[in-house]
């Protein structure tokens, strides 16, 4: 078992790190303060291939593996939770389901624009009444000749309003429960499809989060992904893979917090010495570093299992659960080491702590991850 990254992965990590440090870091505070969607960064990410990393070149992707992709999300998250969320939601939740479950025609139509970043993607499952209980879909799709008519509202949709292409879950047959859910590719600009106001959030404030509203929106039947009734399975499998990238995002936030804390404690002096010289600081950072490294290992392991074509669902849930919990805990403890300065918005640490919280909730809450892991244990 070789824990060393391949030379390719090392060089890719260098690319991501340099890009994040030069292009993302200088804007991170402004993105948060002004709740600004970082369009220029997204365009540059597309230019260098970072919006289609793990997809085959025949569809415009970069032909790299899943590990290469999550490493990108991790490096971006070290400096900006918003930017990393945009990339992960686009790649994992929109590009991936079209690639994994779409027809050849759908792939050729949508993937080249998405993988190049000419178009951005989103994913719409959550509704006001359907969060963790995602089978309670109220958005209806009714067949009408060669089309489906969509009515309903989705909420808390990442990249809402900014994305051009959305994967939308709808109820086509309520009597069948989960097996009555169908997924569609829906394009921005479709008559009857509009956006609600943007939510004001605790963290990842530059990420566009809003309602999607469907009022007799006409969607061609050929935009259905998979068959009628397969929608729930598609959404669940999409989330399964996606949670590894969310784990990487959480990890990146924790690592970014750790890095700036190490720098700060060496500079900050109290009682005639740097606070780094106090045992409490050293013990805290030693413990934090151990937990971050463990989280990274479990996250990379999940990605490698997926790349190897082996079952990865339990590892993905473990990774999301551990990385999210660790990020939330680590960012809070790092802020504590900053003391009073950590509470000031001028310093990045409080933003990292605010950003970290959502990782325990979106794309499957910590509690959902525990359900998934427990199911794999086959104990009930």
């Amino acid at each position: 078992m070789d824990f060393a990254l391949s030379k390719e992965h090392v060089l890719l990590q260098e690319l991501y790190r340099k890009f994040a440090e030069n292009e993302v870091k200088p804007l991170a505070q402004e993105i948060d303060e002004e709740e600004k969607f970082p369009k220029e960064i997204v365009d540059k990410l597309g230019k260098y291939g970072m919006l289609g990393i793990a997809f085959p070149t025949e569809y415009g992707g970069q032909g790299a593996d899943y590990l290469a992709y999550i490493m990108c999300v991790e490096q971006l998250a070290k400096f900006c939770g918003t930017t990393a969320t945009i990339v992960a939601a686009h790649s994992s939740l929109c590009v991936y389901p079209i690639f994994a479950f779409g027809t050849e025609e759908q792939k050729r139509k949508y993937l080249p624009d998405l993988t190049s970043g000419r178009k951005l993607g989103g994913f719409a499952l959550t509704e006001p009444g359907a969060g963790t209980d995602s089978s309670m879909q109220q958005t209806k799709a009714v067949k009408d000749g060669d089309n489906y008519i969509l009515n309903g509202t989705k909420c808390f949709i990442t990249n809402g309003g900014e994305a051009d292409v959305y994967i939308v879950a709808t109820m086509t047959d309520k009597s069948k429960g989960n097996h009555g859910i169908t997924s569609f590719i829906v394009e921005k600009g479709t008559p009857g499809f509009s956006f609600g106001k943007h939510e004001k959030k605790m963290g990842i404030r530059g990420s566009a989060t809003c309602d999607l509203v469907f009022e007799n929106a006409v969607i061609p039947a050929k935009n259905m992904i998979g068959q009628e009734g397969q929608g729930f399975k598609i959404m669940m499998q999409t989330l399964d893979a996606g949670r590894i990238s969310m784990a990487a995002l959480a990890m990146g936030l924790g690592e970014g917090a750790f890095d700036i804390t190490v720098k700060y404690v060496k500079e900050r002096k109290q009682f005639g010495r740097s606070i780094a010289s106090f045992q409490n600081t050293q013990f805290e950072l030693a413990d934090i570093k151990t937990k971050l490294d463990a989280a990274q290992l479990i996250c990379y392991r999940a990605a490698c299992e997926k790349d190897a074509g082996r079952p990865f669902s339990m590892y993905a849930a473990q990774a999301k659960y551990l990385c999210a919990s660790t990020a939330s805990d680590v960012t809070r403890r790092c802020l504590q080491l900053f003391g009073g300065y950590g509470y000031m918005r001028e310093y990045d640490i409080e933003r990292m702590m605010r950003d970290a919280k959502i990782t325990e909730i979106y794309e499957g809450t910590n509690e959902v991850q525990k359900i998934v892991i427990a199911n794999h244990l086959k104990i009930k």
Binding site: E14, Y48, G49, C72
Partner: protein, 265 residues
Amino acid sequence: MKIVVCVKQVPDTTEVKLDPKTNTLIRDGVPSIINPDDKAGIEAALELKERLNDGSTVTIVSMGPPQADVALREALAMGADEAYLLSDRKFGGSDTYATSTIVAAGVAKIGYDIVITGRQAIDGDTAQVGPQIAEHLGIPQVSYAEDIQIEGKTVVVKRKYEDREHVLELPIPCLITALAELASPRYMSVRGVMDAYRVKQVKILTFEDLKDMFNPDYIGLQGSPTNVFKSFPKQAKGKGEYYPDLSADEAVNTIVAKLEEKHII
């Protein structure tokens, strides 16, 4: 057009410290980068290739230990077409003259139309190797290039001075040394990294490959006419002598007397 760019892998001197006892760089644990002037050279070459759009190629050449492979891969990942690493134990310890002897031999063996080097390396700071390579190859050179254009069979270079610029024309083949301001280097692309390791190659040229192209007496530690005797941070100048309350004439006389005393005039 075959554009050859000479690059050096150097320690990132923003992170490096001087050992106070020996006054040499502590290189352990310091990340290695492509020398910034050289990287601008790579970018300029890639932009020239794109503008020419006629099948012109960009070849990277570097002299260094096996670890320099990663710097060449980075250049390939930026879009260079091929890369050569001139590496051999016999090359070790080379000063600027010996280095330029070896690199010129490598460049001559590979073939070239335009050679671009960085102005100077951030670890050596001599700015000698680029111009020396041009002399070894017997080709015209312009240094401190701020802009490079190709017009037919002529290269037009804007050369930067402290307070002005010169615009010079060179025939092909020629050598140009690049300032970091010449071009803003692009990032590697994800696909570029994959190609750098899976499709493109770093070809290694050893002493055996090049020995017919240079005089072996002038390579390596033995062949170096100079060696680094001492490195030290520049000391602040002394306080100097202070003459207050002089008239203009008295001040001039004082200064002239001092200069004569020190045999400067």
